[in-house]
Symmetry: C2
Subunit: 377 residues, 2 copies
């Protein structure tokens, strides 16, 4: 193979047939299968236990952040240079680019069984603070959000995650915070945690949203798409699950997953660092409402993937200004704790398809608020 | 809810945040969960058994086609008319359109356990013939491919599927043929079968491919993207799994799923009706090679979703001419019969991610040809 280097470096490849990119992490095939590490006493996320790479976790008491032992992207690696037009078709159809980055794991608490749904809003705030600090620490100095981040009091707190140091040497472009919860969503360790993948490229989904939000503002006198959407849903009401002063929880009009939900900031916040302490608590309350309602819906530990979209770490002034903080929840369950919706054949080959409407889903989620169905831990 | 009609009709909704559409089938919530129908003696696809809707299957001996008892789209339904600009934001952010269509199920053979991998190429040909006939039967009279279809000798064969009649009253735009194989890919009935969903709209994935293939031809002197890609891969060799005179089996440069494969026609065929009888046999051989190698790889009944992309039923002359017949296979297994790749948090929120390279996957698939690992049934 001429491009032998692609066997070893994290990179992106372009799909010319559908016009999209994907991330390739060939070095990751070396990681042990983490499913094998499940079972009592071997959790690599609990305080004082040792991880796959041999390191021992500190005796932490709130959140705990560390660099992923098997990161999908590497911080340092050989450059990739496609053979310069040695071959015309290859440069059109076999396109790739190197991707550098750094991946973190963040546990929600020292307790092995404490899911977000089991926690109070106050207990959830430290997680949001940690997200905010990691994001702030990786912001480009050219990003107008760095000045905002510098003024955050939580930046100076001692709890600043040690393991984020040393920061990546090169400025990265985007930070994706996400959680896979439950075996149905590929989570191999039940100790509640999320991941933070930071890359030198802007990934497909936030890139698509950036384009759409930019277009909308340009075409509608500078109004934000999601600000307009919040306004509209607050009038229509039928897709609202819950709200407080700062955040709207809604089953979006365009939801794909049966009980898909978005948490949207009510005022324009570009990123986590734009939130005040009061808003961080409001955000924590919204996360609580979503995860508790999910668990109550089918009286089960409800699986989902969730993720936060916010301003890129580095970008044009317009991109930063057009960004609008929100969080997606994609849960697979459809009818019960065991019956899930599969997004498979037609969905993969043609177009996503759903059965229950978002309005019906919102009504069900509205109805299952209150205490968590199971005893809090 | 003002748009009450959307609670009952199949429709598409637009996601303005990422600029894409999804299909909504509210009436489908009425279907019984088919997982419950598994078990000996109750297969609703076997000859002479009765289906969920009460109809009794004929004593068929080859393939068998029937209208899906719980189709995702309806043939006849109320029209959807968004309230005419009663509300400016709603017309921007709550966009929908009605979708009509017809969905079929097609069994591969009367035998409950005979998967494609268990069949010979000769036994697979009737399936390809049935696909071709259903496609031909739904072509728009304005489509240049109808003249081609009219000349196919297999159209006049007695085996013409009865149950396709009566044809949909309105001309439909696209036909998606796909198979979900295995419980991991949401298949609720193990009797080998595929589905054929036909819609009045061009779904997202073929729409994206149509745009990309059109652009490529326009920019490269009328050359077809996939014809160039076949040529390039035949030179490079490292991603080829198998080939015969008519078809190339390749792990595409841009594969997302661990052992993703494409079967691509070597000469420009716009759709199934363009294939000669000899080419249908070659296509059957290619399908055999893929499915047998899949089963041999981890010595298991390998799950996947597969689908055929070809010319729309109705479209502009350019769209039809730019189309290029190919088949995708998206299999989830990564390391063994039980360890699969999850396309979850990062993949859903940011960008698809893979570990093993397509070149490594192709090498493994090249190495596991030959007889099926288990005894043929
Ligand atoms: O049509 P089936 O077999 O009932 O359903 C299966 O395939 C459909 C099309 O890919 C999916 O929408 C369903 O989630 C899946 O379970
Ligand atoms: O990082 P983990 O937990 O090992 O892996 C999980 O999340 C990743 C990011 O969504 C996916 O690529 C993996 O397929 C999934 O198993």
């Amino acid at each position: 193979m001429p491009d032998k280097v692609l066997d070893d470096i994290s990179h992106r490849r372009y799909n010319p047939l559908r016009g999209s990119w994907l991330l390739v992490s060939p070095h990751r095939t070396k990681r042990p299968w983490q499913g094998a590490q499940e079972g009592p006493g071997v959790c690599y996320l609990c305080p004082r236990n040792s991880r796959a790479g041999g390191e021992v976790n500190p005796d932490y008491s709130e959140t705990f952040v560390f660099v992923n032992d098997y990161s999908a992207v590497k911080e340092e690696q050989a450059d990739y240079q496609a053979e310069a037009s040695s071959d015309d078709l290859a440069s059109l159809l076999l396109r790739a680019e190197g991707v550098k980055g750094k991946c973190y794991v963040l546990t929600f608490s020292p307790k092995h069984h404490l899911t977000l749904a089991d926690m109070s809003a106050a207990e959830t705030v430290p997680i949001i603070e940690t997200w905010t600090r990691i994001y702030a620490a990786h912001l480009s100095p050219n990003n107008p959000l760095s000045a905002v981040a510098a003024k955050l009091d939580l930046m100076s707190r001692e709890a600043k995650p040690e393991s984020v140091a040393p920061l990546p040497k090169e400025q990265l472009r985007y930070m994706q915070i996400f959680e896979n919860k439950g075996a149905a969503m590929g989570c191999s360790n039940p100790h509640p945690h999320c991941q933070v993948w930071t890359t030198s490229t802007l990934p497909e989904e936030p890139a698509a949203e950036t384009v759409q939000m930019g277009k909308y503002r340009a075409e509608h006198g500078g109004r934000h798409l999601l600000a307009d959407y919040v306004k509209l849903e607050m009038e229509k009401k039928e897709r609202i699950v819950w709200q407080n002063d700062g955040f709207l929880v809604v089953c979006p009009w365009w939801a794909v997953w049966p009980f898909e939900v978005m948490i949207i900031a009510k005022r324009h916040a570009r990123a986590l660092v734009d939130l005040t302490a009061a808003e961080r608590l409001q955000f924590a309350e919204a996360i609580q409402e979503v995860t508790r309602r999910y668990d109550n819906l089918f009286e089960t530990n409800f699986p989902y993937s969730s993720g936060i979209h916010q301003a890129p770490l580095e970008g044009t002034a317009e991109e930063i200004e057009n960004s609008y903080l929100h969080m997606h929840f994609y849960p697979p369950l459809l009818r019960s704790a065991t019956v899930k919706k599969f997004l498979v054949g037609y969905e993969l080959m043609a177009e996503p398809q759903r059965d229950i409407t978002p309005e019906q889903a919102a009504a069900k989620l509205r109805d299952c608020g209150g205490e968590l169905y199971r005893k809090n831990l």
